[in-house]
């Protein structure tokens, strides 16, 4: 194995390739995750890596960072062929990775987190706390982040924690920083800071790989883009030369004309809105999160909940569903009050919640597709403590077909399905309960573009059938096109409501803008 040392670095030229793969192939148990991928990252560039779920992005990153070794092909770093056996080796060589979930130690101080494993030592071999804190403060300062480095990391917000992760990457003098969906849990303002820091790093000659499902961000930040599909490289080139439609076309492998025709979402026209509200929420109050939130949803209507992260969108639907302790306020379905703080009563009243965290709050990975779908109706489909298997089989069969869930069969374990199909399983779970109100928290996050379109179409279909839908989405297009009305939240209160003429991206942006501008629009159509 060859690991380049610091002394072996060629002078920074700004265009030299720092990290590249040549014909990298990797398969897992017969499934080809990567097929002969050539990837090139130049010094000082911010490189977008995009593709549907399962396109091979994660595998490529894991090959680059020493988690996996390629079956075929080679990885060249700083002009030398390298073979990393463990993440530690890649990191020592100068390749840092920042993951979606913040991977640091909450109970240690910021400074100790930054220098974790590489602390400055005194001559007795102990950690030199003073020097460590000083250097950490310098580092944070150079990133333009104002934090107390002696504070426990766990007491900082997620955005600040992400900055600490970046500071950590910088402290090792990384020449390559890979950011795997770093923005997915950040607020707009934090995203802006993160981007500033990223540009700052690029300015110093560091090569950055940026992965994000938020397409808007790519044009804002990235210089070049590599698109993967089915483990193959399908496009590589400057970001500016690619518009949104073509990017999606590359990711999907469809004709550009198809994409344009469908818009970027699968939502249809507005729905009927002349009936009495099904869901009525008044004065909802959750300690430190929501104050006096009120809105209504009519049958057949899709009401969007807009707002930046932290505005209380997820908290609102969770509180409605009884999954978050409520201090005050009423929720009623069809005029009948729903007991607060009781998921079971909410379910019985006809409310269903598709949670945004599919892994932690949704699927039971080791159970079958069938048992996952039937989970919420289990108490209902039982007689004398026994499961009514036949009725469940019939129900599951119906939904697997209706939602076109792609599984080897109802008895395949859910963990083996793709993200999109897992999401459909969860939608089926809630539809089984025959809800009157369906709360959807980021229903299309983290699933591939094809499944996304199907889910969007399904939401439309459900509304047409008379379901009252509440839709949360971080994607402005999805919200504007999918919702009949948008209730915009800010700091846990209802800021305003958009409907009719005002239901446009521009108006939504304006409504959100008070708390600091959201991301720019990059609709190149």
């Amino acid at each position: 194995m060859v690991t380049p040392t610091d002394t072996a670095r060629p002078p920074s030229t700004g265009t030299a390739t720092v990290l590249e793969t040549e014909g990298v192939t990797k398969s897992f148990g017969g499934v080809q995750a990567l097929r002969g991928v050539d990837f090139h990252l130049a010094e000082g560039e911010i490189h977008a890596l995009v593709g549907e779920n399962g396109a091979g992005k994660s595998t490529l990153i894991k090959v680059l960072t020493g988690v996996h070794r390629p079956d075929e092909g080679s990885v060249r770093f700083a002009g030398r062929e390298v073979e990393f056996h463990r993440p530690a080796e890649a990191q020592r060589a100068g390749i840092s990775t920042i993951y979606q979930e913040v991977n640091l130690v909450p109970l240690l101080s910021v400074a100790r987190n930054i220098f974790l494993g590489r602390e400055p030592r005194t001559r007795f071999g102990l950690v030199d706390t003073a020097a460590m804190n000083r250097r950490a403060a310098e580092l944070a300062g150079s990133l333009g982040v104002d934090i107390d480095v002696t504070e426990d990391l766990g007491r900082l917000g997620l955005g600040a924690q992400q900055m600490v992760a970046l500071a950590r990457a910088m402290s090792v003098d990384s020449r390559v920083v890979i950011m795997d969906e770093p923005t997915s849990s950040l607020e707009a303002r934090e995203v802006a800071t993160l981007f500033e820091v990223a540009r700052n790093l690029a300015g110093r000659g560091v090569g950055l790989v940026f992965v994000s499902h938020r397409l808007d961000e790519l044009w804002e930040l990235c210089d070049r883009v590599t698109v993967l599909r089915d483990g193959q490289l399908v496009h590589a080139g400057p970001m500016a030369e690619l518009d949104r439609v073509n990017l999606v076309a590359h990711m999907l492998g469809r004709e550009v004309a198809d994409v344009v025709r469908g818009g970027t979402t699968e939502f249809g026209d507005t729905h009927r809105r002349d009936r009495e509200p099904v869901l009525a929420v008044t004065g909802l109050d959750v300690r430190k999160r929501l104050h006096d939130v009120a809105f209504t949803v009519r049958p057949g209507e899709v009401v969007g909940l807009g707002g930046l992260l932290g505005s209380g969108r997820s908290e609102t639907v969770k509180a409605v569903y009884g999954a978050l302790p409520v201090r005050a306020g009423t929720v009623s379905v069809d005029g009948r009050p729903v007991r607060a703080n009781s998921v079971r009563h909410a379910l019985r009243s006809g409310v269903a919640l598709l949670s945004e965290d599919r892994k932690a709050e949704g699927i039971v990975p080791d159970l079958s597709v069938r048992d996952n779908i039937a989970l919420a109706v289990l108490p209902r489909f039982s007689r004398a403590g026994l499961v009514a298997e036949r009725r469940i089989d019939a129900l599951v069969d119906t939904f697997v077909r209706r939602l076109r869930i792609k599984a080897a069969g109802p008895h395949q374990k859910v963990r083996e399905l793709s993200g999109g199909n897992q999401q459909k399983v969860l939608m089926a779970r809630w539809l089984c309960t025959e809800p009157r109100v369906f709360l959807l928290d980021e229903p299309t996050r983290g699933i591939d573009v094809g499944a996304k379109a199907e889910v969007q179409a399904l939401i439309d279909e459900l509304a047409e059938q008379g379901l009252a839908v509440v839709l949360i989405s971080s994607e402005m297009d999805e919200l504007v096109e999918g919702a009949d009305r948008i209730v915009v939240l800010r700091d846990g209160t209802v800021e305003r409501e958009l409907s009719g003429e005002l239901l446009t991206s521009a108006a939504l942006l304006a409504a959100l803008a008070g708390a600091g501008a959201g991301s720019e629009e990059h609709d190149d159509e």
Binding site: N103, V105, D357
Partner: protein
Amino acid sequence: MTATTAAPEHLPGSGRARLARLAQRQGALVILVAAVLVSTFVFDSFGTAGNLTNIALQASFLAVVALGMTFVIMSGGIDLSVGSVFALGGVLAAWGAQHGTWAALLVPLTVCGAIGLVQGLVIARGGLPPFIVTLAGLLFARGLLLLISDEGATTYKVPAGSAFRELAQGGFLGIGYPIWIVLAAFAAGGLVLHRTSYGSTVLAVGGQEDAADLMGLPVARTKLVTYTMSGVLAGFGGLLMASYTSSGVTVLGVGMELEVISAVVLGGTLLTGGAGTVLGSLVGVLLLQVIRNVINQVGSLNSNWQAVISGTILLIVVTVQRWLATVERR
């Protein structure tokens, strides 16, 4: 703060939350101080210097073992083998004492360290759950002990006049060496936790092992060191006991692992890993020992009450810990 998307810049540091955090960390200390004060007033013989040093001395054997367990639990693991390894260490020390003081020290530490190392290897490299591996270690160490003691029939004696006896029976400034050793060991333990890379890595591994691995931290090596140290310290505790009793008692240490785990948890180390204090474990050990001592003071009480009370206190403390955690989160 896992299930929320909204993350305020700083979590609330309200007075109540701060108090809850303090109670979480120092709860055992408060109970210990209260127990000592009350006992001093209630029982004439409790507060005497003789009795207090006796408590400290009796606690020192358990304390040494608890120090190793603290790091194991902080790393997200558990070590059920310490009771057996403790007994094995004692028997090996007494056996080794026949061949000189050095043998009495080195043989148990080497063998017990090796057992810890092998357990660490199987856990870190083989990826087996610590619970199962150290359960097997419990059987293995006990089997080894029986093997070298003719199936438990032979109890080795430390020869009279052996310097090895001095280790636990002697003292300095009227305080037994074991107490000094424990103080030194815990000071070193605190230094290791707070002022070395290894210390932070233990917490990182215990907090989120996958993350620690992806961050390039030496996860496997850290676990190896942790379990090896736990073995060495358990063996050392047994060695001290052998020196104290001048013999290698074969039936010691049964159920000790559970007592040690109780002490560590009482001291505020979370069994989920990623958090804890070294000093807390010492407090936990002392608390258990004070309870035992008080039960003995009350002559009429059956000694089985000691188990009942220790168990009940453990349940109360963990219940309060849970409650405090919810207060803190609000």
